[in-house]
């Protein structure tokens, strides 16, 4: 089985869960809407003369906090869906509200690391940019399961990050596959978005209708990708921590993908 085959099959399995429980897409959709609202509210602060690093960091932390909050809710409900239970928006939001301290500490750590990496990435020196890429990729893989850990094992932010690193040692192949998969999926959907964008602009020109259609499309497709990824991430967590592959990620078609280290 090629990597591309594996990505297609895993995406199909996530899609199956999402089709059965479409409510799951509401979490990332709400998250995007809230993040857009924060950026719009923060826009006047930026002003024409640019923005200071502390302000940029504060806005970054706030948008990231919103994203983590909804991802916690989504992950809780995705884990429920994989157990055969019925997920709901209220239950997911309730769970996230109950984990606010853990969410805040995780957000603070990941935002700080992300911010430092972004600063590193702005350097004109090639070596620093390579270092940023290597450290960034390693960080993103090692922290991949932090949110499912926080949800299922009820750990705080920093212990969740630590435990995610331990689980990564057992599932590095599947985690890397997921990271690659999500990039391939995003790239493909970006192409679709560009095509649709060109069609919309051709049909309606630079009008309000065009802007609304494009905004809805961007939010909708981004929410879809986030929901699919969160479902796969939840399945990967179950595999890493519990030692089994949840339905519908198992079966002869997918067994080759899952390997315990």
């Amino acid at each position: 089985m090629t990597v591309f085959d594996a990505i297609v099959r895993l995406t199909k399995a996530s899609w199956k869960v999402l089709c059965k429980h479409p409510v799951l897409v509401a979490f990332p959709a709400l998250s995007f809407v809230a993040m857009i609202a924060i950026v719009i509210i923060a826009a006047p602060i930026v002003g024409p003369n640019g923005v200071s690093w502390p302000t940029l960091f504060a806005v970054g932390v706030l948008t990231h906090l919103v994203r983590v909050f909804f991802t916690v809710g989504l992950t809780n409900e995705a884990l429920k869906a994989l157990r055969g239970d019925t997920p709901s928006l209220a239950s997911g939001v309730g769970t996230a509200l109950g984990r606010l301290t853990a969410i805040a500490s995780l957000t603070l750590v990941t935002s700080t690391v992300g911010f430092l990496l972004a600063v590193l990435g702005r350097s004109s020196r090639g070596a620093l940019r390579i270092a940023r890429f290597v450290i960034g990729s390693a960080w993103s893989l090692a922290t991949y399961l932090a949110i499912p850990v926080m949800v299922q094992e009820r750990r705080g932010g920093i212990p969740s990050l630590r435990r995610s690193g331990d689980l990564f040692a057992r599932t590095w192949g599947e985690t890397t596959l997921s990271e690659v998969g999500i990039r391939v999926l995003t790239a493909n959907l970006a192409i679709v978005m560009i095509v649709v964008l060109l069609i919309v602009l051709k049909l309606f020109g630079e009008s309000l209708v065009s802007m609304l259609v494009i905004a809805t499309l961007v939010v909708g497709l981004s929410a879809l990708i986030s929901a699919l990824e969160a479902i796969y991430r939840a399945a990967l967590y179950v595999f890493a921590a519990e030692g089994v592959v949840p339905e519908p990620f198992g079966g002869p078609d997918l067994d080759d993908i899952w390997r315990v280290k």
Partner: protein, 123 residues
């Protein structure tokens, strides 16, 4: 349910294996009587908030290893006439050891001294 089970994610042991060990330990110590029914897969999965496939795998392996028998329509029961093996007793011994080491540590005694003492003790 006679099987005492608390998932310890810090042990680094997959959850299905922890369920397996809890059942064998309960059988070895007699906590789980031979005629006592085990919880259903969905009951146990619901109580532990884990995936039903995890409990199903533990039960499947317990069944394959001859510890339990799943009877369609009746439920899951311990297999009759199976003496506890040395392997069955290992999780129980591990718990006893961990408790002894923790208690010793409270008194400033190192784990290595506990082990040395256990070796010296004549049963």
């Amino acid at each position: 349910v006679p099987v005492t089970l608390q998932i310890d994610y810090d042990r680094g042991v997959p959850v299905y294996r922890q369920i397996y060990e809890a059942v064998t330990a309960a059988l070895a110590t007699g906590t789980l009587a031979r005629d006592e029914q085990l919880p259903t897969i969905h009951e146990l999965a619901g109580r532990l908030e884990i995936n039903p496939n995890t409990v199903a795998r533990a039960y499947r392996e317990l069944d394959q290893d001859g510890y339990i028998i799943s009877q369609r329509g009746r439920g899951t029961f311990p297999a009759p006439h199976r003496e506890a093996s040395a392997a069955d007793k290992r999780p129980v011994l591990r718990t006893i050891y961990d408790k002894a080491v923790a208690e010793a540590a409270r008194h400033g005694i190192a784990a290595v001294e506990v082990v040395r003492f256990f070796r010296e003790v004549k049963p």
